[in-house]
Symmetry: C2
Subunit: 402 residues, 2 copies
């Protein structure tokens, strides 16, 4: 591949589950591309690689700066997203289409499946002898990409979940006898990063969340029921946060009776963890339980943007263009934490091939030994990512005067 700047067009697409800040990466890339002489037209593919293959492409470089500003403040994928699994001849077809439109820069914002898609298109271009620069831009609320310190999209979803947990718990605290047990089900297919983020507003052992269950640890129903009962005895109520995907000690999916098939990549479409645990607490402990399942809202809430997250999402979009123009290809932009007292990140690069189809799970040092709570190391890692300090809530002191 040439290390020189090559004149041509740029195409950008968005892929995989949307995040609150995936459009900040889009706008960061578009604005940077508009500043660069070697880049003529800035195209946007509608619904990611599907739009590329079907020639559904817009000229996003012609949007006004007001529109770009509104796009930045809009959660979800402005261009539309997809979960399209490439068929055998798709990579070559995509490379041909890009060549036909003199696209020299192909940026793909996505997670690990998307990294695989981008990598295969890049490889097809190389095989054709076409100088195409392919750069992946990381995003995923799941925070499960390897190599990067964290993923844009995680910080804002983590902020939403941290606040949802504290605030929903205020409700239980006000009426512990009426609502002794609450389950909050959050996203996270293979890794518990989001479930653990529920802890970020917790200051004392009696604060919610009291228990956290994540895919990295098998769920022992007996231990779960014992832990819930003990928290209710000690605190008066229990808030347990669970990932949407849990496996029991026999390796069976919790709540899989509610599961609805698989997606295009063979990932199960999950459903019933919270309902299953609520039923269990009701029947086995005789305690009233209910659940919150913020669902897609947890990753889409504009009221919970983390400024750090927005800024970093913008940065990785901008840097993707810069790297591509410098001749970098088949890489994903990463975030690398700079050691020091104050939190700071700079960008780096990782091979797209290394990202593809891998998951980064929570390291043991981020979890308490018994696995139902996080460690201080997790706070140190995650607190800087969620932006401004979380709100403080007043708590009554029961100094009775009668």
């Amino acid at each position: 591949m040439s290390q020189q700047t090559v004149r041509g067009n740029l195409l950008i697409g968005q892929s995989g589950g949307p995040t609150a800040v995936i459009n900040a990466s889009l706008v960061g890339a578009v604005k940077e591309a508009l500043r660069i002489d070697a880049i003529d037209t800035v195209y946007g593919a509608i619904h990611g690689v599907e739009g590329l293959l079907n020639r559904k492409v817009i000229d996003i470089g012609h949007e006004t700066s007001e529109t770009l500003q509104t796009i930045m403040q809009t959660p979800s994928a402005y261009l539309g997203s997809c979960r399209y699994k490439l068929r055998e001849d798709d990579p070559e077809k995509a490379a041909e289409i890009l060549k036909a439109h003199n696209v020299r820069y192909f940026l793909y914002i996505g997670g690990n499946d998307s990294a695989d898609t981008a990598h295969r298109i890049g490889a097809a271009a190389t095989a054709m002898g076409y100088d195409l620069r392919v750069i992946g831009v990381p995003k995923t609320i799941d925070n499960d990409l390897p190599v990067t310190d964290h993923c844009p999209g995680y910080g804002s979803a983590a902020r939403a979940i941290a606040m949802a947990t504290q605030e929903s718990a205020l409700c239980s605290q006000a009426m512990p006898e009426h609502y002794p047990v609450k389950i909050i089900e959050v996203m996270g297919r293979y890794a518990g990063w989001l479930a653990c983020a529920s802890s970020l507003g917790k200051h004392t052992p009696d604060d919610a969340p009291h228990l956290i269950y994540i895919p990295e640890r098998k769920l022992d129903y007996t231990a779960f029921l014992r832990d819930v009962r003990n928290v209710v005895r000690r605190v008066g109520y229990c808030v347990a946060v669970v990932s949407e995907h849990l496996t029991d000690m026999q390796g069976k999916g919790v709540g899989e009776q509610y599961t609805q098939g698989t997606d295009a990549f063979g990932h199960p479409l999950v459903a019933g963890v919270a309902q299953t645990l609520v039923d269990l607490v009701n029947s086995e402990l005789g305690l009233r339980a209910r659940f919150d399942k913020p669902g897609d809202w947890q990753r889409m809430s504009s009221a919970h943007f983390s400024k750090t997250d927005v800024d970093e999402a913008y940065l990785v979009g901008r840097m993707a263009v810069r790297y591509a123009v410098r001749g970098v290809t088949q890489k994903m932009v990463t975030l690398q934490r700079v050691p020091g007292e104050r939190y700071a990140c700079e960008t780096g690069l990782a091979d797209l091939e290394e990202i593809a189809n891998q998951q980064k799970v929570l390291p043991d040092e981020f979890l308490d030994k018994d696995g139902a709570m996080v460690s201080q190391a997790f706070y140190d890692y995650a607190l800087p990512l969620i932006g401004a300090p979380l709100p403080s809530y007043a708590r009554v002191q029961p100094r009775y005067v009668w």
Copy 2:
């Protein structure tokens, strides 16, 4: 009852399901009481009437103004709440305790069950010949109290649901093929005020929510499935908002197989509407469906305070004290909309007895004829209640250039 100011203490309590702004009413009342010479000590009952009966009472008038400010910004009931059903001798017992502590002003923040509680305690005091001023302060996210134009607590929850619906729909819009059907289950036991609030960010027929199902209308499964399929065909995806409590054409509770008994007032503890409808769409239409259930978070989110709602909650708390000092008793403070171009409310009074155990359901004029969407009259009613204008989201125009 004396129409003169009587010297003594004031006791305030919070009752029923908490709201995001119930503490604004508390602080409004406390601050007003502290300004009034005739009121000596300002007591707060912990967990409402339970705290009164068990003498768990704090001196909330001694909180610093900083603490009062933090309390105002804290969702849920600072003093703790309850759903306690008075036993036969409780009203007299409560009146005796109030008399023993020279409490002349009893303020109870709550919904219709709480109005009944306050009214019975007031009647017991009257029977004893004790001059006690009893004032109800309205709160309920359900907005189902009669007589008042609306209830403090509704505006903030309505804002949260309006934004949750738009933002969660952005996710479906980005990947309609992957997530063609989404159900959002919101609160509302007997009335669809909150479900209808999901429409407040909707500007065109193709915007979410596409369908709204409320307790006031029986759910016809056949019509539901037909409507969902038609929306998916027309828009590409469908977002339906449903109340937590629906009844089918046979009068059977939707999802009652998941229901977990009843609360102290005999109200069913509801559960499975969303899961039931998701299952139905999957099995009958063969379309992937998923659900969001914001749960308690929808009424507790500090990021979705409506300033109008906070201000009005504060106002009804403040006015409760003023009315009581003027000699009013056995009344609830109401909000009365002032006719005119610009939205404005003033306070009024209604008999506590009139509030007790009644529900205000949605009038027909707020609903479209077919019942699955709201009318313009509902927008005119509800939009002023949710505070600042909702955010605008960018929407791509598919002007393809290839």
